[in-house]
Amino acid sequence: MIENLHLWYIPLLPFVGFLVNGILGRRLPKWLVTIVALLAPLAAFGVVLLEVLSTLVPTVMLRATGHGSVFSVALPYTETCPLPWISIPTLHVDFSFVLDQFSLVMLLIVTGVGFLIHVYSVGYMKGDEGYARYFSYLNLFLFFMTVLVLAGNALLMFVGWEGVGFASYLLIGFYFNKKSAADAGKKAFIVNRIGDVGFLVAMFLLVANFGTLTFTEIATKLGMDPGWNGGVVTVIALCLMLGAAGKSAQLPLYIWLPDAMEGPTPVSALIHAATMVTAGVYMVARTHVLFDHSPFALSVVAIVGAATALFAATIALVQNDIKRVLAYSTISQLGYMFLGCGVAAYSAAIFHLMTHAFFKALLFLAAGSVIHGLGGEQDLRKMGGLWKKLPFTFAVTTVGVLAIAGFPPFAGFFSKDAILYAAFLQGPNGRVLYGVGLFTAMLTSFYMFRLWYLAFLGKSRSEVAHPHESPWSMRVPLVLLALLSICGGWIGIEPANGWINMERFSGFLAPVFGARVAASGSEETELVLSVIAVVLALLGWACAVLLYGEESRLPARMAGVFSGGYKLLVNKYYVDEFYGATVVKPLLGFSKYILNWVVDVGILGGIAWLLGGVAMLAGAILQRWQSGNLRSYAAWLAAGAAAVLLFLLVPWTTVWPASMAFVWKVAGH
């Protein structure tokens, strides 16, 4: 019987890795740095697997054989530090970790995919000067991410939340000698802070209205009052959504993610595709009770998600940087996840989160392999025909593209379908969201196949004569992720309940999200919908073939015909320029003219100048006293003593009125 799961090992191990590599890394030999860097996430992953063994396997065995095992620990399982964090009469916050089905899935993704990307990084970062620094940052990220996932209350989650933001900042700005990278890091950090204001306000409101930040207690309090809808709950939910939009790069705060591609490619895969950016989705799903009590907030989530999905997909259509295509596609896929959350299909959203982690990590790593092979080239226009030179990378990219485009039996098909199906069942408004999602799916298929054709097929436009295939340390993670991208969706299938039914995954997460009855769905509807989705994905492919299948002038001509729209898309809807003009420039102007000139130089500087002037003037006058002539000091001393004597000896009570009367008289009265 395992009484204690030792959840705190999971964040602690990467943290130890961070400390060792961060402090000693520069002095250690490279092989030791590698071992420490790989051991930390591997050990954490091992602990997570151990937890699976001691929690899930017994349940499965129980279902299969009728009797449980000795290693059974019931979920949800809470581990609390005996010392409270904050303990005041109105609020009690603990360092508590909670393991339930949901955090278990997330942990498997974070540590599993995280480990694969660490392995990949060993090959990718081999020649880099900041090898140890890179891995210490990566381990630090894993530490904060696991804290975020395991946190049992909003405050601890916020610690992880800020921590991953910080690690992300460090890694985006990893090549800090490059101005664009340093700027991108700052941009990501600042835009995330805007979202964090929402998270913070939501926490304040939670404390004010619920008196607690613990997720389970909030759920209990809301559960006691089923009629409590809207009102402050809506405000809290919307504030949380603002935070989630910042972290998960949703409209209107998505602008940092494309720039975040300045970091090393494995970082883009781990942090800016697979794990950190899904923290917003995780947070919304974790606080789903609040959203369930606020239909308005839910619909906001759904609309933001659908709008972001479409918006980002349209930008991705015309991008030429291979990583930026993937970045916009990430934003778009995150939009899908929020769409899923917004129609209260949390398990579908988490399912998509999981499959997306697999295939998007795969795609990013494959892109990294291409970039690595071409010696740093990221422009799709300078690739082409790489399938002969990089056959392995070509194969795994194909898997990733098929998965994200939503072809069965690849992973993306199942999860995207689950979200679209859930949206479809939400009544007439849901149909609109479904339509947007479906159209986005077609766009997704199109731009991914565009990338595929431009990079790998056709004639070579590369300036690199002999691109080289990646080393083994980079290939093994790619193979594993490709396998996961193929099979990852199958865990949702329960053959007994229809072939693409999501019963199994949602059934697994039901203890967290509650069992949801599908409104009016039937197997036929689902089948028809998935066929439509596949047909549209094929249509997207067909468009890509038509435009990019062979060297043609068609794309250029199309860009000429729709020059207005093309320009709009190439310039990403001028959102950065818009923010620059409406937010950044006024703020900078305010800082420079009001805060710097008026407040700092004018008021504060003026006060300082005034005080200094007064002191100097007083000094100029008073220095006459300090003549340095000893006898004048003695004279003052004697005069002072005489004055004191005079004050003590003269009977003032009689002299004073008399002298006043004398003055009075002299004055002429």
Binding site: G628, N629, L630
Partner: protein
């Protein structure tokens, strides 16, 4: 006549003499230029104070004031030893005893 000599000197006389001695010391300290005279003026002030100590000790039949006088005399002796040594050293170095011209430490 006999009674005149038998009369005790009133307390206030002693005190007035003491104040006069002290004030003479102060004035001498303030206005004399010669270092040795200044030094003597300090001694005069000390002794003016000593006189009032002795006066009050006699008046109140308390021995504390007389003990204080011994302390003051001791300090004055030590001061005279050190002070005169310094004055000699200063004179050797500067060949002057005018206090206004001994101003090396000034800014």
């Amino acid at each position: 006549m006999n009674s005149f000599f038998m009369q005790e000197v009133p307390l206030s006389w002693y005190l007035l003499l003491s104040a006069a001695l002290f004030s003479l010391g102060v004035v001498g300290f303030l206005f004399k230029r010669n270092l040795i005279t200044v030094f003597m003026s300090i001694e005069l002030m000390l002794n003016g104070v000593n006189l009032s100590f002795v006066t009050f000790a006699h008046q109140w039949h308390a021995v504390k004031g007389q003990i204080f006088v011994f302390f003051v005399m001791m300090v004055a002796a030590a001061e005279a030893a050190v002070g005169l040594a310094i004055i000699i050293a200063v004179f050797r170095a500067r060949a002057t005893l005018a206090v206004d011209r001994i101003d090396l430490m000034k800014l």
